[in-house]
Subunit: 159 residues, 2 copies
């Protein structure tokens, strides 16, 4: 049974559609890590996101993130570049927990009420989260959570 909230007299049930641990690696190690997870766990590559800036500057586009599937389970393997805002996060917490929901405002609000701290407000996602609106939260125990939802207003083909 899912827990329910009563807000403004309307009962709302919070639900999540996906849960994907994201492994952060100092760039460019994610490429080798992806090869390892394919070899070690028979992981299958679902999609990869390239680094848009580096794509223009270099011959070989740098990998930003790869989504892998291990049986029925998803895993994101991502490079953190030194010029990225999240570079400092690699040492601190190398696994980020991503939850996909249909109602990001309600999900963030509920988590904050419970004691989570917003590290990045709801905004257009980048890297593996392009096409999604994403917020980054730190829970009271030091774990980082990303709450995301597919962007409704994004025109088809723009992503």
């Amino acid at each position: 049974m899912a827990e329910s909230d009563v807000q403004n007299g309307v009962e709302k049930t919070l639900s999540f559609k996906a849960f994907k641990p994201q492994l952060l690696l100092q760039a460019p190690k994610a490429t080798d890590a992806v090869d390892f997870y394919k070899a070690a766990f028979a992981a299958e590559e679902l999609n990869r996101t390239l680094h848009s800036k580096r794509k223009a500057e270099q011959e070989t586009p740098a990998i930003l993130s790869v989504e892998l599937r291990v049986s029925d389970f998803s895993l994101l393997v991502s490079n953190v570049f030194d010029d990225s805002a999240s570079a400092e996060k690699v040492a601190e917490s190398r696994v980020v927990l991503f939850l996909e929901t249909e109602d990001i405002e309600a999900a963030v609000s509920k988590a904050v009420s419970a004691g989570a701290v917003v590290e990045s407000k709801i905004a257009e996602g980048d890297g593996p989260y392009v096409g999604n609106r994403v917020a980054k939260l730190k829970d009271p125990f030091g774990f980082t959570w990303l709450i995301g939802t597919p962007a409704k207003e994004s025109p088809v083909g723009e992503v």
Copy 2:
């Protein structure tokens, strides 16, 4: 399509039945963390494992690990006690990735061939893994994986 192995002329497909990130917390914080995830993400408690030694010594049995369900996804929230062998692991890597399989020997062997290092050989699990045979591996990128399988020979009712 799952990746296949040809071993001794027999094609084997490696598959996993569950994937559960395990969050490690310095004891006794897991109790509060469980309350937080219930409040923040509408997580539902599936089961809890108590600390058998501390159960005898103390009035209130200490929680070792709680399995939570967030929508269709499982998460383990575990206390690490100072007297535990894994105490040092909390600072180093606070998220451990658990994979359940039906053929633990094949899964461990494949991961080791790919470059993983065995930290704990296949043995009877404790805490949230009681009733399972579990091996602990470190991948070449510093992440810790537990590969587990339900123990076949364990008599019903002994766990």
